[in-house]
């Protein structure tokens, strides 16, 4: 099934059938990935334009393109380059469209992806535009949930930590809203609760959610999505230390639980290393799931899947 759009800017573009189609193609992509590489995108070039460095996301996109037999042009840390000086994003896209067959762009400014698609002559994927959207992260999160739990409908999802500023939990919430009977347990200190744009979306769609501040209340969910509590959000350092400690997940808390633990990574202490060996630890598998999801998107936007 072809996607009903040329460019992927936001998860808000996606219908449930779109999301399901992407997940289905991602499953097929796993086979190609395991074989080393295929030739579906032979002769196609991905331009990975990272105005803001993000080695993790960039490597995931590049791996996806390589595994499909395509080639990659890389520009990371474009702020050091002439590309950055004086030229509008619209002009840069005109130029890069002459070289590449598809573009993935990370940019620090919200809205930059919308500018980019004004002139891009080739399919464009938003790889994060500042505090804006990062749809491939949300899709790989969704794919991970499906793989870990075998389904998405009827699940209980706990989200833990900084729900106020965490871009990933917002995008994922909107995406999960496409599915049936998903319930949320939102675990956050009162300073970092889920913003109104998400809770009002839940209310509108009749999605059930609890707001709590004790991590143990998330333990009986199907998925626990951990996020980093960011020190820079706090003026009172002792307050930060108190909250940070409150949201440290360790092996003993998971004893006898089936919950799949996810995290967008990097973690900086909120999941102890002793969790890594447990079957619950889904976060490294989650990072790996970025490859088949991005393979699926590259292939589908290039009309090859």
């Amino acid at each position: 099934m072809p996607l009903p759009f040329t460019h992927l800017i936001s998860t808000k573009q996606l219908s449930r059938p779109d999301a399901e189609a992407i997940l289905r193609v991602a499953d097929d992509m796993e086979k190609i990935r395991k074989s080393g590489k295929g030739d579906l995108l032979h002769g196609k070039i991905l331009a990975a334009l990272f105005y803001e460095p993000s080695t993790r996301t960039r490597m995931s996109f590049e791996t996806a393109m390589i595994r499909l037999g395509g080639d990659v042009l890389t520009a990371e840390g474009i702020q050091f380059s002439s590309l950055y000086k004086g030229e509008t994003i619209e002009d840069t896209m005109q130029m890069v469209s002459q070289y590449a067959d598809i573009i993935a762009m990370r940019h620090p400014a919200q809205g930059s992806a919308d500018l980019a698609i004004k002139t891009s002559k080739v399919p464009f994927i938003n790889a994060g535009d500042g505090p804006g959207q990062h749809p491939t992260q949300a899709l790989l999160d969704l794919y991970t949930i499906q793989k870990e739990c075998g389904k998405i409908d009827d699940l209980k999802i706990a989200m833990v930590g900084d729900l106020r500023y965490g871009r990933t939990v917002h995008s994922l919430s909107f995406l999960l809203g496409l599915f049936k009977n998903v319930k949320f347990t939102l675990v956050a200190p009162k300073e970092l609760t889920m913003p109104e744009k998400v809770t009002s979306f839940f209310d509108e769609k009749g999605i059930k959610y609890d707001q709590v501040d004790d991590i143990r209340e998330g333990m009986d969910c199907d998925v626990m999505y951990m996020t980093r509590v960011q020190q820079e959000r706090f003026t009172d350092k002792s307050e930060y230390e108190r909250l940070k400690l409150k949201y440290v997940l360790e092996a003993k808390l998971l004893k006898g639980k089936k919950v799949a633990v996810m995290h967008p990574l990097p973690r900086v202490g909120e999941i102890k290393e002793d969790v890594d060996a447990l079957p619950n630890a889904a976060y490294f598998r989650q990072a790996g799931n970025g490859v088949p999801i991005r393979m699926a998107l590259l292939a589908m936007l290039l009309k090859k899947a």
Copy 2:
């Protein structure tokens, strides 16, 4: 026809038959480019050594190599690396020659390309050496003129803006001097007129040129080559503002005109966005023409075309 040289340092190396051969091969390369990729340079490695960042030129070279089935080693912003510290360019070339089959180098110091070919064991292409030469830009400009106008002989070319310091207009002037009956209209403020090295070349070769300061006098040419007026050349800021405004090309100026508008890019205001939709706007096509021209040069210097 093989080129009668191993390394490309300057447009001054080129005869008219050389330039025509490169343009002819570039035409063949368009077909390979459109097919995705060929295998003419399978097993060949290009080292793209950018001591000075230039994402635009680097991506164009890399695209050319990939479309020909070759591979690329990239080093951009070498100033951050040990390669830069202490080692002479001659030693670096000895070393890189052990890895790559062909080298493209951008370096901030004029004359660095001449040092490089002292020791390079493989074909070398100057991708810009400071205020010196940038021959692949001049060749893609020439190719664009041929594609836009169907010929090069007997054309009227307007060059507009900063003709004093603009490296590209100098190189292109020398290259156009190889053709018959090309006439120039040089549009520049008196502070930024074409330097004597170019005008004396015109005089010597009996090439006709006018020097004017009103952009409207360039409108009846076949080609209008726009350049950026650079603020840093002016001590009097109001003088800069006056001149900058004088050389802004907008759609209404082009009404009923056939002139092909070119620009080496990036532009920073001297061509208004309303020009982009006109058939006259050749500047993005021009950027794209860098790919087949560099494909031609890579293939010819590696004796594969």
Copy 3:
């Protein structure tokens, strides 16, 4: 013969049969290298993670992977990236293992390679961990000695310059200690003599060595391994200048000598350019030998040779 280890951290892991097997495979790799590229590692991805820039070593690894038909993910200067901030090396390896089939890492901190292999799911090669180990350099040095002299047993090796702080001469000494009847002439100022960890190793193994301070005493060896005398080791600048001049190799010193001159590069004056044309000058060939050695290691660790 498969190597009896998954990761290469240090030359100390290597037995004589291991080292000989690597050198033998490197010889086979020369043929593939000369043919342009093979397909032994088709579908395999190398992640070249250079936390500390080292364009030379990175390009050598990437060339090796490309010549074997594999693909490369590059991250150089990771200190500018989010990968560097907050995340442990162990977590980074978990993540990169999801993308790549083999990892080569350069890192400024000694011991970082030992941390990396705690979690890497794929073969790992230490490409230099600060003042620690750099085993691929020692192996390419060994390979160069064999190619220049036709054998390794029974050779006389002079090591010249900064023997105290030079990482390469230490690693190479341990590796040569696996062979029979290798004798050393250690040419160094008293301030920069070989450290006790190496001389006691020589004593233990019954390896003969002389310690001298005149470069001419190394001239009748089979190999002269030059190193850079580093200015920053001296508090007395005039002392540095005196020693630096003492260890400048020039063509006239090599008149009638057969000694093969090696250097890990970059050189900064300790070998004059007039040596470059002599058959003795092995140092650029040595740099080139890094490619087949790294091809051999990549292929062997991936169980393809």
